[in-house]
Amino acid sequence: MILRELVSKAQKWGIVLGLVVLLGSLIPAASLRAQRFGPPHENPALVRSEVNPIALLQFYNDALSLLSSLSYEDVSQMLDKVKHVDMPGDLRFIVDTFSSLIGELNADFDALEKILAEASALISEVQLEEARQKLEEAEGLVARSETLLGDISNSSAAFLNYPLLNLLGLPEGSPLSQARQTFQQLLAKLEQLQGDFFALYQSLETKTVVLSAGESPGLTLELSRPQVWVGETLTVQGRLYSPDEGGGISGEEIEVLVEGTSFPMMTDADGVYEGEVDIPYSYMPTVTLQAFYRGMENIFLPASSPEAKVRVLFFPTELILEPGIDEAWAGDSLIAQGNLISPVEGKGLSGREIEVVIGEKTFTTATREDGSYQVRVEIPYSDVPGITVQAFYRGMRDVYQPVASLPVDLILHSYQTRLEVTVPQEAYPGTIARLEGKVTSVESGEPLEGRKVQAFLDNILLSAATTDSSGGFIIEATLDPGVAVGEHLLTVVVEPQRFYLGTSEEKKWRVVKLVPQVQVPSLAFVALSREVQVKGKVSSSLGPARGAQVTLKLKGITGTGQTSEDGEFAISLYFSVGLFLAGTQDLKVEVKASEPWLLSQEDEHSILVLDVLTIGLASAALLSLGGVLYARRRVKPKIRVESLQSFPQPRKPVGKGWWQSRELKGEDARGRVLRVYLEVARMVEELTRLAFLPSMTLREFCRESTPALKGKGEDFSLLTDLTEEALYSPRPTGEEEISRAEVLANRMGELWKERL
């Protein structure tokens, strides 16, 4: 019965829902119709393909034109782009074939041009064997390009005969017709270009043959003097002449080489050349000269003269060095002195620059009038037992020869320095690193005050400090924020100081970045404003992380914020109304540190989220549901209760005519029967704990309750029949029916008494 009613209701509401859904579904359609004019674009999937034949022909005309002008790179780039041109499959096949052939021809022409140029250069240098090899390569390329041109011609016919490019009745001056004409003209130009290459190849081949059969001309070289002062000029002359007839070759360039320096001269009408060459300041006893002729294309091979030698004159010199001591202390100084003399002339050389070299240091001075010199020299810091001092005169490009003194060995004394340094195991980019240490004497163990100590990271100066009276030092160095994470070389250097040598210590130093620690609460409340405020703190072992960008993600909602000076953050996440928030949730925290010593960090925390609204709504819903269920249970118990004692007392006194107290004014016989029935039915409800539902008929209620009425079930059935008769029968209800109903009601009333 209930099910039937539910089905009936569902049908009714189904129609309503259907209507509603139908109306609702019209909205998007209405919206589409109501859409205003939008941006001009179209769905590419619905676009029909259109090929523009003129543009395609123009593209190839451009490519062929570039090839004709030997712009190989441009042609290659253009052909590479043809794959982006949209076209039907059959045309694509023709175009790809044609492009491939043009590409091959482009590559062949490119190679041919280069090889022929190389062959030409080799021929001009009369390297005939190498030139011949190049020309053989060129011959193969020339033949290949000829074949390719044939293939291109065939392929172009297929291309031009493609329906789109070969419209019937094409007017003579139309753009397509003009493009076709240009295309054919350019193809003809390519054939011409191939012919040009072939002609060039042939001419180079002929040259090689001619040169192979040639001879070198004769070339002589004569010197005007057998000896010359260093740096002076020397007049030279000679003759270039034909090998067979001996006649001079005029107007040719001759190069005279003097120790690598070339002096060009021209031959006159008799093939004679003459000119001056400079003798270099090499202070060698002799200098070699030789003349060269580079040859004449197609006529003469190169030639060279026999070598000629000239004696070079200059004054030898002598340099004396007297340091005056044979022992020295590192960091001390000495006076180096001596003389620069010309033994041949027997005089000292004045105004000459003298260099005194000790270790790796050089000290410079000039000679006096008598050729003597004197200079203070600082003894370098070195832990070797001895050191050499030597003087040099480098020369002044005149007739006096440069010279070096004999080396003088000095015994070198020094004290050793000890460095002890402590560095932290790890350093962090952008932070101040503190290096501490002590500098002492190795020999005495005493602290060394005033020593300069420098720290270098990968050979770049970090910072420096000076030792105090106890020899101690502290270097505070700020690391570059951009320094790479990993192992670096830290070098601490103590500078040498008077008699004390310097020292250094190298250490591997790890530069690392710290992982920021994120603290977030384990409990969060979602207020009625739908806001979850998550407060937390980001820190590291170096302290709070300032200015770090923090991103929180909770249930797909993202919020960002920055940490304060204390590393704290407070980020609000705004949620829409939903039932998902109460409970344990995964909170994803992303930290992007602004400080260079911190890494970025992603972390997940599990937090208990309590949503005031969700909990409120859920509680309200549960309370409502509980209320409804309780109410229904009271009026419609489904379970038979064993003990009647638990039921409430009847509200009406039970006895004869107990229903009469409810008699209404103007009530007819039918109404009276009905009222009696209703009172009895109410009593039955109370007795049986079965509800007389509005959806029930009298007969249905009777059938449901009869088993529970025991012996009085028949009476209630009779009363039900009597009432139905009164209600639905056309026969009028009279006093007899009333009295029968009352009798039955009285008997039912006894049942009430029994139950009590």
Partner: protein
């Protein structure tokens, strides 16, 4: 009671279903992030994890590492332009994708000489099926074009007065500006190549200017290397990508959605939420009370 119950329930039902349909039915409007149809940005939005920006008041205060994409089909207010200038100069990246909209107002305010020509560019050779869908195959060697060989545009325009060094992409030399919309080149119409994408540095931020917003729509997103190109540009946006929806063309559905959004926002305020809870509880208790009264008199 029974006489007005059905129309009331029917009316409330219609309203509820309409609200649900409006809420959940995706907008068919151009460039809308929730639009899954050919002209929407659903694919781009999903793959690039972008967020909508409905008001420029919500521009991030620390814009470094963020990128804002704007398709300016509605004019900018003075306040919006000021906010945008501040956003860019503070280190935010901006992508202006326009063809025939209000992009020039923006570029001019930001002090860029470059501007959108606002004229349709067609390429009869390098295209996808039709000249109005030009392919871009000339690209500068910059990080934005890393791994990109071609782009596909859709009824694009071109850029003007862009310094050569700032250009990222050019149309082919076969392209032309179809000023008279004849769909073919006519004497007097300018021929390519034209710049179609460029990049500029302004303050600490970078501005990308692209002469076609359609390369983001679902039907264009995976065409040629459009996806790679945009993702290259967005590569420097670890802190978020925003799509400005406040300057997009709006349809009736979008306006209805906006109203619903406002209503929802209003309903989630504490006072209204409390009131709603109160109404629900009152109605429930009233029903219970009535039922009790009917049964027990």
């Amino acid at each position: 009671m029974g006489s007005y119950r059905l129309p009331l329930v029917l009316g409330l039902g219609v309203m509820a279903v309409l609200a649900l349909v409006i809420w959940f039915y995706p907008s068919p409007q151009d460039f809308r992030m929730e639009n899954p149809f050919w002209n929407g940005l659903a694919d781009f939005s999903r793959e690039s994890q972008v967020s909508p920006l409905h008001s420029w008041d919500l521009l991030p205060s620390s814009p470094r590492g963020t990128t804002l994409i704007t398709i300016p089909y509605l004019p900018f207010t003075r306040g919006e332009l000021e906010k945008l200038e501040e956003y860019v100069s503070s280190g935010g990246n901006l992508i202006v994708m326009d063809d025939y909209g209000y992009g020039n107002d923006l570029l001019s305010y930001l002090g860029l000489e470059a501007k959108f020509s606002g004229k349709p560019m067609l390429d009869p050779l390098f295209n996808y099926r039709r000249g109005s869908l030009p392919k871009i195959v000339s690209l500068a060697s910059v990080p934005a074009t890393d791994g990109v060989t071609s782009l596909l545009l859709n009824h694009a325009s071109t850029l003007e007065e862009v310094p050569e060094a700032e250009v990222i992409a050019w149309s082919s030399r076969f392209s032309f500006l179809d000023v008279n919309n004849s769909q073919k080149w006519d004497t007097g119409e300018f021929q390519g190549p034209f710049p179609v994408a460029a990049q500029f540095q302004r303050g600490e931020g970078r501005i990308y200017v692209i002469a076609d917003p359609s390369m983001l729509v679902n039907s264009m997103w995976r065409q040629e290397n459009n996806q790679r190109f945009i993702q290259n540009i967005l590569g420097g946006s670890p802190s978020g990508i925003l799509v400005d929806e406040s300057h997009l063309p709006k349809g009736a559905l979008d306006e209805a959605k906006e109203i619903l959004r406002t209503v929802r926002l209003w309903m989630t305020t504490p006072l209204v939420t409390l009131a709603l809870v109160g109404v629900v509880v009152t109605l429930t208790l009233r029903t219970l009370r009535r039922q009790k009264g009917e049964k027990f008199g």
